[in-house]
Amino acid sequence: MRRLLSLPNGAIMNLENEINFSMDALNCPLPIDASSFITLAHGGGGKLTQQLIEKVFQPAFNNPELETRHDGAVIDFPKGKLAFTTDSYVVNPLIFPGGNIGSLAINGTVNDLAMCGARPLYLTVGFIIEEGLSMEVLWTIVRTMKIAAEEAGVKIITGDTKVVDKGKGDGIFINTSGIGIIEHDLTIHPQSVQPGDAVLLSGDIGKHGIAIMSAREGLGFQSEIKSDCAGVSHRVQKLFDASIEIHCMRDLTRGGLATALIEIAKTSQLSVTIEEMEIPVREDVKGACEILGLDPLYVANEGQFVVFVKADQAQQALQIMQQDPLGGSAKCIGTVADSPEGTVILKTKIGTSRLLDMLSGEQLPRIC
């Protein structure tokens, strides 16, 4: 770990290097004579709005449904139950090690659908852009959204753009809503959790929160840690394909592993016991947490989930998760019991036990 000043200027190039864009794709497609920044006119519904749609959004999200340029998308839908979710994305900085607000906006909604046990199919996107956002930053975000959507196998079928006055937004806010199809008979919900279930964790925790914190201007603390921002639907699908009896799943976002487990324990009125020794945390993430006084159990993630499965299928499920390129560090971290109801118990490294509780707000770096 090293301490540097702030990140922002070089951040775009770092991200591009990671994703290996070709240089052609990197060039913003808007002509030179157009503004290199978003102006209020880009949201005014006139020529500049059309140009933005035709030159930026359509080439990136290209598909027949979007091509119709209708007020909404009309889609064929396969038979079965439908899962529907929405989420809004605000993040500072917009571009951070390992991702940007665009990858968050796609993966976050895809992951919410996956946690409902659905195969994600379609997304909608709403952009609220602050006047003055660089066109190049917008293009970077949109390109990343295209890649994330392709990886998750979802189509972006309708969208909307608004531009707000300078000072009334934080660069860009994105809302995505998603529809997925449920192709099994399981009821995936905290109330399906059973005493005896095994709790599996998809991989090491804490990378997203530390990456954001290290990139955030003013904290003056930077590391090599990249966000784990990624879609989890393929990993979940592999469990369904192997007929694993999944009782409940939850992606670990704000509030981290602890908050996700506490929510499930409270809803199911069961007791979840986890072993601190079994929870994978990378050495550099541990180090950053130690220095900043943060508990990795509560640090945000954007590409990890917990899954509650029948104990006799735990080993099989774990092997499937570990075989995925993103799941090498997946672990069985605990079990479910009847009581004490609605609790999560952490067995600490030194052999004592304590209850985990939700935090009242964001974790703040400590003083000394």
Binding site: L5, G218, K349, S353, R354
Partner: protein, 363 residues
């Protein structure tokens, strides 16, 4: 992780717990001074490993907890000024002043930045020459060298738009104040390892001698604390009262001389108010006259007088080791981290917040 995992080892923790149980023949009350130690004790449920005869009391070593309300009010007043960028360590933002906290000022548009080091405030001042930048310099001897260095550099670089709202306190006078209280129950101290890393531990020797009380300089990991307790209890059982150093991997008797030099360059000893306790003589560090132009209290003169309202909150007694957090009628009821009545419920190093957050399975 090296230098961390070895001190969180369950076999050795058990070994120390057994050694403590074998040594104890009667009831003893030991106080850990530092909020970081309180946090570890609660986080690892260390009390569960100790024999019932041994009682731990939690000391005043939480810088957030002891910063006086008047100073928080001043911080809020300055941070709300239109041309000010107010820089603070993160956990000061939630501490209630008399009517608001810094988070509320931020939500109303105050430019408040969480920084990790006082040096970040210097950078912010350099980058924003048209703004007045103020750093909330709080803490014990641990934060004093870095804060002093930032003030020293501000002067040597002639940075005119940076000032410091100082609330530095020091440990030894607080120990004496606790020992002189007629209700004192403390029979042995675990001194704060990081404070002693800076200051050394010579200044604790007269305290141990005069008050006939064992003091063990102790680290922050679970094994450090268990070993510190063991050393302290052994002294108590053998009738000794010495200063011993459990945290020898970090603490030398003379401390960090370079750090002490910069503290002495910038700060002088002054009386300080401690929230919940009152004024303790010679217990604070204030800017020397040569640095008074960087004193935010001089640059932004304002006076606040705070009258403690009668509430159920016993945080002052908790800070003095006279009560435990769960002996407070408001604990977990009208006082929670979401709506704290006292500062000990705010900081992660505050005893009440540590008790609230790290409940044991039995409680």
């Amino acid at each position: 992780m090296k230098y961390v995992d070895e001190y969180r080892n369950s076999k050795e923790a058990k070994m120390f717990a057994e050694a403590i149980a074998r040594t104890v023949t009667r009831t003893w009350t030991v106080m850990e001074i530092c909020g970081g130690q309180t946090h570890s004790i609660a986080k690892y449920s260390l009390q569960d490993l100790l024999p019932p005869e041994l009682s731990l009391l939690h000391g005043p070593g939480c810088p957030v907890c002891v910063t006086p309300v008047e100073l928080i009010d001043k911080a809020i007043h300055i941070a709300a000024m239109p041309n000010v960028i107010f820089c603070s360590f993160g956990d000061m933002l939630r501490v209630p002043g008399s009517s608001a906290d810094l988070f509320k000022v931020k939500s109303k548009g105050g430019d408040i930045r969480i920084v990790y080091s006082p040096m970040d405030a210097l950078n912010i001042a350099r980058d924003n020459p048209q703004k007045e930048v103020v750093f909330f310099a709080i803490g014990f001897e641990t934060t004093a060298p870095a804060n002093a260095m930032a003030i020293y550099q501000t002067k040597s670089e002639n940075i005119k738009n940076l000032s410091f709202l100082v609330s530095q306190v020091i440990v030894p006078p607080a120990i004496c104040s606790i020992l002189e209280s007629p209700q004192n129950r403390v029979q042995g101290f675990l001194a704060a390892g990081h404070v002693c890393t800076i200051m050394g531990y010579s200044e604790y020797e007269p305290i141990a001698k005069d008050y006939k009380i064992p003091i063990v300089v102790t680290g922050f990991e679970p094994l450090d604390i268990l070993q510190g307790i063991f050393m302290c209890v052994k002294q108590l059982e053998e009738g000794r009262f010495e200063v011993e150093n459990q945290y020898s991997r970090s603490v030398r008797k003379e401390g960090n001389l370079a750090a002490q030099k910069i503290i002495q360059e910038v700060f002088q000893i002054i009386p300080r108010q401690w929230r919940g306790i009152g004024e303790i003589k010679q217990s604070g560090l204030g800017l020397k006259p040569a640095y008074s132009q960087y004193d935010a209290e001089v640059r932004f003169p304002c006076e606040f007088h705070y009258q403690e309202n009668a509430t159920e909150c016993i945080s002052g007694l908790v800070l003095q080791g006279l009560k435990k957090p769960n002996e407070c009628p408001a604990f977990g009821k009208s006082c929670t981290p979401e709506s704290p009545l006292g500062a000990t419920m705010v900081s992660t190093e505050g005893a009440c917040a540590a008790y609230y957050r790290y409940q044991t399975v039995q409680s």
